[in-house]
């Protein structure tokens, strides 16, 4: 049932890509929306991730959402204007370095075809090498997706936030939401500095979302916080025209337009939610470095000039929580388990749909908030 934009205020909590995209879509549809961020926009996962914008390698359950998001990425300027220049389309390749990897890749293509998806293609070694002429090692083939890419993450998040504000959203940074109390048909939101009413709340609080949910009277969500680490190198002549991974291993490797390599891929360190910090355990990155130098021998001599980590929220099944909460007037969008960035635009649209009582065009069944509750 389609409902007009309500006169009540919607409060989106969390200024990462999920929250900013949601605030944007709501504001564009005429909804009064306030976006509250405890630090500054893009401070955490959305600002410090590897910036991969990929359909490749998604859990089957996420593929429809990812494809819908890619439609938005490919026309991003229409939504967020100049900030869209932060998206750099290029192909994504996940290559097999051994027979195990090859088997994984072929199995995946078959599963995707069976489900009706054709965006991932399998290339043999000769074709992979045509696309990646500087590869230093033999491959056993690989998966490829055209038109994926990478983005400068904080600029994309800013793009959505600025666009939301242009359409009338209110942005509040530097304030914690201390409590959420049911009030009448809606909520009372109490921050460190103010108190106001809201008709609906969208929980996009990332690694802090389970805490926030509890404060709203929701059940406990099994969300864990970890800090994936990344490294960036010196500038080098361009040799890598794609974003790469390796089948059966965790690696994310790309070369920015500056010539710097960004190397990471899911190696996780400890996160401190209260202290807002993830540790940087540099030796743990050695695995990714070994893979990177195997792929491109000349990377071995490149200097790592900085490492960092960002706090991400993980769910036990590595799928996000997207859907209505148990409380009326509460919608959740969190738990993206370190792969939520590309999904952001579609998640924002879907959350805006839920808030406005509209049917999201993608089924959110795999992401049900109640899937962890023990059935009685």
């Amino acid at each position: 049932m389609k409902m007009p934009a309500s006169s009540g205020r919607v409060v989106v909590i969390g200024g990462g890509i999920q929250g900013c995209a949601t605030a944007y879509f709501l504001a564009r549809r005429g909804q009064a929306v306030t976006l509250i961020e405890k630090d500054h926009i893009g401070r955490h996962a959305s600002g410090v991730n590897a910036g991969g914008v990929r359909r490749l390698g998604r859990d089957l359950a996420e593929v429809p959402l990812s494809l819908a998001a890619m439609d938005i990425w490919q026309d991003l300027q229409a939504e967020i204007g100049d900030h869209a220049d932060a998206f750099h389309p290029c192909f994504y390749a996940k290559i097999a370095l051994d027979e195990t990897g090859r088997a994984l890749g072929l199995e995946r293509v078959a599963a995707l075809r069976k489900a009706g998806f054709h965006h991932e293609i399998w290339l043999d070694d000769a074709d992979i090498r045509k696309r990646l002429p500087h590869l230093s090692c033999p491959t056993h083939g690989g998966l490829l997706v055209e038109g994926d890419g990478w983005a400068v993450p904080w600029r994309i998040v800013q793009g959505f936030a600025s666009a939301a504000v242009r359409h009338g959203a209110t942005l509040i940074e530097g304030e914690h939401v201390l409590s959420l109390e049911p009030e009448g048909e809606g909520w009372r939101v109490n921050t460190s500095r103010r108190s106001f009413g809201a008709e609906q709340i969208v929980n996009c609080a990332g690694a802090w979302a389970a805490e926030l949910a509890l404060r709203a009277g929701e059940p406990a969500f099994p969300l864990s916080a970890y800090a994936p680490m990344l490294a960036v190198t010196d500038r080098r002549p361009p040799i890598l025209p794609a974003v790469m991974g390796v089948l059966g291993h965790t690696l994310s490797l790309k070369q920015l337009d500056t010539g710097q390599f960004v190397i990471g891929g899911g190696v996780r360190a400890r996160a401190d939610l209260d202290g807002n910090r993830g540790e940087v355990a540099i030796p743990d990155l050695a695995v990714s470095m070994r893979l990177a130098t195997k792929l491109f021998a000349e990377i071995a001599g490149t200097q790592i000039i900085r490492c960092w980590s960002g706090i991400e929220g993980y769910m036990p099944d590595n799928l996000p929580v997207i859907g209505r909460g148990r409380q009326p007037g509460l919608v959740h969008g969190f738990g993206f388990s370190a792969h939520g960035f590309q999904l952001g635009p579609a998640v924002g649209e879907a959350l805006a749909d839920l808030v406005m009582g509209q049917q999201p065009r993608i089924s959110l069944e795999p992401f049900r908030p109640d899937r962890f509750e023990v059935q009685e």
Binding site: D234, R235, T258, E298, G301, Q303
Partner: protein, 97 residues
Amino acid sequence: MFRQIESPQTSITIYIDDRPYAVAAGDSIATILLNEGLTAVHAAPNGTPRGPYCMMGVCFDCMIALEDGRIEQACQTYAEDGMRILLPLTRRDEAGQ
């Protein structure tokens, strides 16, 4: 140009951009560059030439390329006999950038 008061104890040879230089073993490459009047060695991201500034490893403007391709600070790299150094600025100029 930096003039040396004492007579240089040049006991080894290094190569800068394929040109041989007689130098003292253990001198930093940055010291040698300045003694040879080479004050510009690499380019900043916008193309402007840069060279040794702090001589103590904090400015990262004395960058040189070693034979194995590593880019290192000249003031933290010490001369060994036969060492071959390339100045990134020269390569950049040759590449017409």
